[in-house]
């Protein structure tokens, strides 16, 4: 068996004139959690629908668990689990009825489908839901049942499309802990998210997607390093002095972000100590009072804004 669970080469998919996937490449190693990070409309859901055989790509070579998603769709379907953005459950039926039905459709046979349903209900804390229809479940419960349904056959590859969108913090924590418990069982997980925190928390590697293409890829640390390392944050006592401070600090004014509400200016630095001492000295000499000065690693938000912002500028005609 290859070490690669997902291979995507030059995937394209158009809806009318709009290119949802525009030559997307992706490789996901077996047994890892791979995050697909991007804004709304970046092509994340289209990618998951193509990978899970729900949508036929216009072009590209796409293999999941060693099988082509177009020509060997059935072989792919026996090896994947899918947790889409919206609950893929029969809302009129109860939790057990849903899982038993899906188990039979995976051809487990009636008895094993029943046993598997019980196991999963127990594992996801849904054993006491009885006959209650799924339509009356809370958002978090529905998501857990949905996740249970995608795990009926212990899939080789599990797709999670924005698994926590629309959940409250408690529901989100429930889903996160469920996903974490899967890792280590050898399942490959592909997770799409708009939440940088989520990718940072769950994914081994992250692909940043924008306009149907991967614009950056790496571990969370690598992506942060790609921004040029650390940042310095300076909070002033008087917001009126922000402009003056930007002008005299030993920083490139083009890189400085100013947040007037928080009286904050923030900039990337190359050498931590030189930057820190330089800033402190310059402020002191100008008589500008600082409330706080801190060196820190960039957040994924900043990485993301940096990457997609650059990308948009590059595409705009000069």
């Amino acid at each position: 068996m290859a070490d690669t669970a997902i291979t995507v080469e030059g995937a394209e998919k158009k809806y009318g004139e709009k290119k949802a996937l525009d030559g997307l490449d992706l490789t996901v190693a077996r047994g890892t959690v791979h995050g697909i990070l991007g804004p709304n409309g970046a092509g994340k859901t289209t990618l998951v629908r193509v990978l899970s055989t729900l949508l036929r790509p216009d072009a590209g070579r796409i293999e999941v668990a060693g099988h082509d998603v177009v020509t060997q769709a059935r072989a792919v379907r026996t090896r994947i689990g899918l947790l889409g953005q919206h609950a893929a459950l029969d809302e009129e039926l109860g939790g057990r009825q849903n899982l038993e039905m899906f188990g039979r459709l995976y051809h487990l046979g009636a008895r094993r489908a029943r046993v598997r349903a019980d196991e999963l209900l127990e594992r996801f804390g849904l054993a006491d839901t009885g006959r209650k229809a799924v339509g009356r479940y809370s958002g978090g419960m529905r998501r857990r049942l949905d996740l249970a349904a995608s795990l009926i056959t212990d899939p080789e590859v599990l797709f999670l499309d924005e698994p926590t969108t629309g959940l409250d913090p408690r529901g989100r924590a429930e889903v996160w802990s469920a996903v974490r418990s899967l890792v280590g069982g050898g399942t490959t997980v592909l997770l799409t998210t708009q939440y940088l925190e989520e990718a940072d928390q769950l994914a081994d590697r992250i692909s940043v997607v924008d306009a149907g293409r991967v614009i950056a890829e790496g571990t969370a640390d690598e992506l942060k390093a790609a921004l040029g390392g650390d940042r310095i944050d300076v909070v002033l006592r008087d917001a009126g002095q922000l402009g003056a401070a930007v002008a005299l600090l030993p920083l490139d004014p083009a890189d400085v972000r100013v947040d007037a509400d928080r009286r904050l200016l923030s900039a990337p630095v190359t050498d931590r100590m030189t930057a820190l001492t330089g800033v402190v000295r310059a402020l002191h000499e100008a008589g500008i009072e600082a409330e706080d000065i801190a060196l820190r690693r960039p957040t994924l938000d900043e990485v993301f804004l940096h990457l997609t912002g650059d990308d948009r500028r590059a595409k705009e005609p000069a």
Partner: protein
């Protein structure tokens, strides 16, 4: 198991899903049974009066109502399929290694079962209203067979329209169209009472052939409508069954 065995088992699982819905929503089934009975009473007593019909109007009306109810089945099938397609669960079905057509087969099995129940209910009410058949059990069974064949054709038209329209808003448009098409038949009134051109249209309506054949069979007389009542649904099926199956396969595009 062989692919055929899988297809049968998947279809049975999908049929059971529909039956489980019934068990959870018995009121929905009851309403489905009451509605045609209500129509029957309305046309039999409120509006009726045997327009140009020789003999008992109830003997004319009941077979017509049976055919009319089968025609309206097109709507209920279309609504159910449209709702199904717009539910998230269809994505899970399609991402699973199940037989391609099982979702549609489950739907048609459940709809046919409901239609059979509706026919039984309508015939029972008809009997209570004084409807009597001159034909033997064999002839009545043949009539029921023709009605179900007609319903089966309506079912696949409904599935196809649902797949083409896709959105619940389109269901209303079809609902509005089904009524005049269903009433432009000899279900309620004899074509002899209509202007010539209208009478011709009405006699061409496939539903009229089913209604006439059922009338003749129930009356116990000979009939020259059976051939058309068999042929028309088969033609409709030959057109819409492959269209619907192909359309369902193309959802991935």
């Amino acid at each position: 198991m062989t692919p055929t065995a899988y297809a049968l088992s998947d279809s049975w699982t999908m049929t059971r899903r529909e039956l489980a819905h019934w068990a959870r929503q018995p009121v929905r089934i009851a309403v489905g049974l009451v509605f045609p009975v209500m129509l029957l009473l309305m046309f039999g007593y409120l509006i009726g009066g045997g327009r140009g019909v020789a003999g008992s109007y109830i003997d004319y009306l009941i077979p017509g109502m049976l055919a009319l109810t089968m025609a309206f089945g097109l709507e209920s099938t279309m609504i159910a399929v449209t709702q199904d397609l717009n539910k998230g669960v269809i994505d899970r079905f399609r991402s699973m290694p199940m037989a391609d057509g099982a979702v549609l087969v489950g739907r048609s099995a459940a709809d046919m079962l409901q239609s059979a129940l509706t026919l039984v209910a309508l015939m029972a009410v008809g009997y209570a209203l004084g409807w009597r058949t001159g034909g033997g059990p064999g002839a009545v069974l043949a009539a029921v067979g023709l009605l179900l064949l007609f319903r089966f054709a309506m079912l696949w038209i409904g599935i196809h329209l649902a797949l083409v329209a896709g959105k619940p808003e389109m269901v209303q448009a079809v609902q509005i169209l089904v009524w005049p098409v269903a009433f432009l038949s000899n279900a309620l009134a004899h074509p002899g009472t209509m202007p010539d051109w209208l009478g011709t249209v009405v006699e061409w309506n496939p539903m009229s052939h089913t209604a006439s054949a059922v009338r003749d069979l129930c009356a116990g007389g000979g009939t020259d409508h059976v051939a058309a009542a068999v042929l028309w649904p088969l033609i409709l099926l030959a057109v819409f069954f492959p269209l619907a199956v192909r359309r369902f396969g193309r959802l991935s595009k």
